[in-house]
Symmetry: C2
Subunit: 205 residues, 2 copies
Amino acid sequence: MQIEARRHVATAARKQAILEGALACFAELGVEATTIDDIRRRADASVGSIYHHFGSKEGVAAALYLEGIRDYQAGLAAAVEKARNARAAVRAIVLFHLDWAMQNTALARYLLEMRRAETTKSVDEEIRDANRDVFQRLAKRLEVFVARGDIADLPRELYAPLIVGPTQEVVRAWLTGRINVDLRKLRDSLAEAAWKSLQTGQQTT
Amino acid sequence: MQIEARRHVATAARKQAILEGALACFAELGVEATTIDDIRRRADASVGSIYHHFGSKEGVAAALYLEGIRDYQAGLAAAVEKARNARAAVRAIVLFHLDWAMQNTALARYLLEMRRAETTKSVDEEIRDANRDVFQRLAKRLEVFVARGDIADLPRELYAPLIVGPTQEVVRAWLTGRINVDLRKLRDSLAEAAWKSLQTGQQTT
DNA sequence: ACGCTACTAGAATAGTATTCTAGAATCAAA
DNA sequence: TTTGATTCTAGAATACTATTCTAGTAGCGT
């Protein structure tokens, strides 16, 4: 009902506005350089409001991070779901990674910048939870492919790095402006290379 | 002669002490959380001294970054130099990357944390210069291998990501404590996978 | 209508990076 | 060896920014 919603709607909107303002600032100035006041101005909110909702600058950063991760993971899961075999799955992951970065440049840049700093405990746990959900599902599909001999049987820690590592490195370079190509031109090569790296090797010394 | 050196030696020592103190603090508390005062105490220096030599906290960070990059690059160049063929070169890069991270944990963790933030212009240029030197040399060797057909002919931007991307991702996970294996056990798999990803593909649809 | 709670605002506080001023140590030149 | 310049060190003063605090305001259920 619209009765119970009035305030909630307003405050949810404000919360979102703060996040969006923060993202804009972070993308433009970098996280460390943006001040609470920058965010306040951009989101047209008050200091009190920001602190009420997020507790600290780091809290804002953490919430934004979580939002980004969630969006990424949801998209990734959906993309992989559709794949009918190992090769298609690997390809889907690589392509999705590239596409997501291209379509969410600001957010991607931000996630990249934050990827290190352990955020607040609570948020950190939420992230861990989200990760568990998505990655356990992926891991299960993987096991099937391994058992079937579609891809090599490697230490489990290696699959994610092998599949997205190179792509991630390219995206990083692109986001930071170190390279300036059209990422779409690299899609096929990256997908193909990831797939090759997972094949069981017939030693070509 | 020892005549001209007295002060220079002393101040060089102090500079180094500041860098070492900073690294210790950064590794222990994270870059953002360490204060100038932390560094001052640890290095047994004064605020004035730090600012005289480095200009700002960011200046300290940048100098440290540069030092780390230089050490890494020098080692990398040396390691690749010895390789006699394409396969050995790829393997050398992967192994060196792993070994360096294991032997310079604090520095590696720091470089990882900094890898984003554009530092001061001047330092940034120095880094670019250093990169050019090392990477142009590597690029030349690469071209030979490509011409000879030892490795696939791909967009040039892809070689570095394909060779070190997965390894870099593993190292990152290890440094941040996300995984907890003995990296040495992954050496061969990573080297092998990198090599496979560079082979020209006989499509195995 | 009334109290309660969630929310907003902005002033006050606290903590940290940076600047400034003064002085000490070294050096090169006469 | 003295002198003036220069580099370096010190720590106090300043300026900026995150955070806390106090005082409201407005929706909501009763």
